[in-house]
Amino acid sequence: MKVTFPHMGNLWIALKALFEKLGHEVIPPPPVTRNTIELGVRYAPEFACLPLKVNVGNFIEGLEKGAETVVMLGGSGPCRFGYYAQVEREILKDLGYSFNIIVVDPPMGDWQRFLQDLQPLGNGCGWREVWDALTLAWEKIKALDQIHRTLLKVQFYNPRVTWKCYDHAVKAINGVDDKKLLQRATSEGIRKLALFSENQNGTFAPLKIVIVGEVFMMWEPYVNLDLEKALGGMGVEVIRSAYLSDWICDNVLFNPRHMLRRIKFKKAAKPYLNCFIGGHGWESVGESVLYARKKIDGIIHVLPFTCMPEIVAQSILPAVSRDYHLPVLTLSLDEHSAQAGFLTRIEAFVDLIRERKQITA
């Protein structure tokens, strides 16, 4: 099968490893560009959120490149994401593509249906091979997140070179298909990046800004207009509040350490928002409060335009900001967001924080 899938940050590396191990031909869509978004905007519903439009663009580009099967994640609501795959199928059908879509919907107790849905992806492999493929992909996701974490800790020293190192490490991880080699590539990448902080004498204290919000917008650099890189260039240490590996630990593996963390953020969010509201809304509020208690200088909240859970979070975050005396900037992004206006806003925000810090210090 010729498989394609939507882009989300570096996810494609892990998915490529997974499907190649299972013996499929993988055709990753070209990286998200202006063209992708334009395609998505042309064919997707008018006020659907940006991730859907990017997905549609990815699929069209992937299918044009010769893919036959589209793999997409489903969900159980109430966020729109759970119904994405259904709309995307109809859109592509109306466009006249002949393709096959495999939707990975959560089992919701019906494991038989779940396995049946996934059967074509198994490609007749035995359980052992499937396990190997899954663990390799999982290791890759963890490795990529680890490298990205290291990058964020050092990028403000020298944005240009650190990002080069990072890209190099990502490329190396993409190239390996063995767990041992993967480990070596990862530690090599991390070692190189860590060198940047060792060379410093520790006198430079950067501003710390936490990014919270909707995960797709946090993780896909093209749609958030390279927010992290831009902040790094201004001498800011960026902390990403959630990584893909965290999400998987929370929602798929139910890792005990992460469950404890979840209890913590729920407790922190209690005075502001005390229930699940779909998507990442609750997390946005809870993590903001948790980080606000630590020594950070500001929060940037990113969301796609019209995102339902994040609008609730956006309405509540000013209260968090007031209570903890912490500046919060909300960036609602869509296909019309332009780099210049965006940079101006971030620069102003960073300037404000810097002034504030000098006054209070």
Binding site: P45, E90, I277, G281, M308, V312, S315, I316
Partner: protein, 351 residues
């Protein structure tokens, strides 16, 4: 004199007011409603809401402002998580009480009620009992109030199926209310000359005259018979849903898409109008699915997007054009519908 409790005349008011009203009034509570939606209410709502919020939620905030001025003891804003198994309401409803607390400072305290029937159906009585205990210590009284409320809600639902307007049912009872006369629809041959149109949307858009710019009356004035998405029984909606590959997880979404697909299958209307509020999350996806299905079947479908900037003139023009088009093609050819991209005159594509 009992406590005064304010209920905003917006959002789920159009679905559940009778239930809460009966329940609370039989416990000796005085209910205060906000005014009907007007310009001030909308403006106040817009001022306090986050810009991207959909119009109905902005209007809701405006109603809360309005109630805050009326000196009520409590506001009644339940948190609707889910009203049926396996389905949610919109995420904004789930966070609504919290949003209001943080967006509008200085409002009366909000009664904390959670409606979550996702897993089991028994949840509601427990929650209603908890609510009832605030006003009376007599469990028997609460039980009777709950029963009465449930009965009323049931008969209200029946009346909605017959096409009565919710507000008229709330305040006038059935005798004086006007119905949209759904019954005629079933007997297809009785009235051949009348245009029939499906009006698909959420209850708070369909029945709030200010938000929808009085679309119901306008259509009736144009001599059109309307069937709204609230006039479909559970069975009809479910039969419409069979077309979907994946069960839908929004209650309102289920209603709209189920009724639209049912209409499509039974072919009892000449066209449908989709009433959507701008930035409505579920609808952005669901209305697109409906639109695509109608286009494929060749039945005209008009999407009216409502927001605080919609002007009455533009809406009338579009409605008139749509109705004209339907009438025209009805005279020309009973079986042929001009749809998107095809001229009315030639059934075969000229290209």
């Amino acid at each position: 004199m009992g406590l005064k409790i304010g209920i905003p005349r917006a959002l789920l008011y159009y679905d559940y007011f009778l239930l809460w009203n009966t329940f609370l009034e039989s416990l000796g509570v005085e209910i205060v409603l906000s005014q009907k939606t007007n310009k001030d209410i909308v403006n106040n709502g817009i001022k306090s809401a986050v810009e991207e919020t959909c119009l109905p939620v902005k209007v809701f905030l405006g109603h809360v402002h309005n109630l805050a001025q009326k000196k009520v003891d409590y506001l009644f804003i339940p948190r609707y998580i889910s009203v049926e198994p396996r389905r949610f309401l919109c995420p904004k409803f789930m966070g609504l009480p919290y949003m209001i607390k943080h967006l509008i400072p200085g409002i009366p305290p909000v009664l904390n009620v959670d409606i979550d029937m996702r897993k089991q159906k028994g949840e509601l009585p427990v929650e209603m009992y908890r609510l009832g205990r605030l006003f009376t210590f007599n469990p028997w009284k609460i039980r009777m109030a709950y029963r009465l409320a449930r009965e009323n809600q049931k008969s209200f639902k029946k009346m909605m199926l017959q096409g009565f307007l919710p507000e008229e049912v709330f305040f006038n009872g059935t005798e004086k209310s006007k119905a949209l006369k759904r019954t005629v629809l079933k007997e297809n041959d009785q009235d051949r000359n009348v245009l029939r149109i499906g009006l698909i949307g959420h209850s708070y858009n369909l029945y709030d005259k200010y938000i929808n710019m009085n679309i119901l009356e306008k259509l009736q004035e144009m001599g059109v018979q309307i069937i709204t998405s609230k006039m479909f029984s559970e069975a009809e909606v479910n039969s419409g849903l069979k077309k979907l590959q994946k069960d839908i997880f929004w209650t309102f979404g289920k209603e709209t898409i189920g009724s639209a697909f049912y209409l499509l299958e039974e072919r009892i209307t000449h066209g449908i109008i989709l009433l959507v509020s701008f930035a409505c999350g579920p609808d952005s996806i669901i209305m697109d699915l409906i639109d695509r299905a109608y286009k494929r079947a060749g039945i005209p479908c008009l999407t009216l997007v409502l927001d605080e900037h919609s002007a009455e003139g533009g809406v009338i023009t579009r409605l008139e054009a749509f109705i004209e088009m339907l009438k025209w093609r009805k005279q020309k050819n009973e079986g042929y519908f001009s749809t998107h991209g095809k001229p009315v005159d030639c059934p075969e594509s000229p290209f």
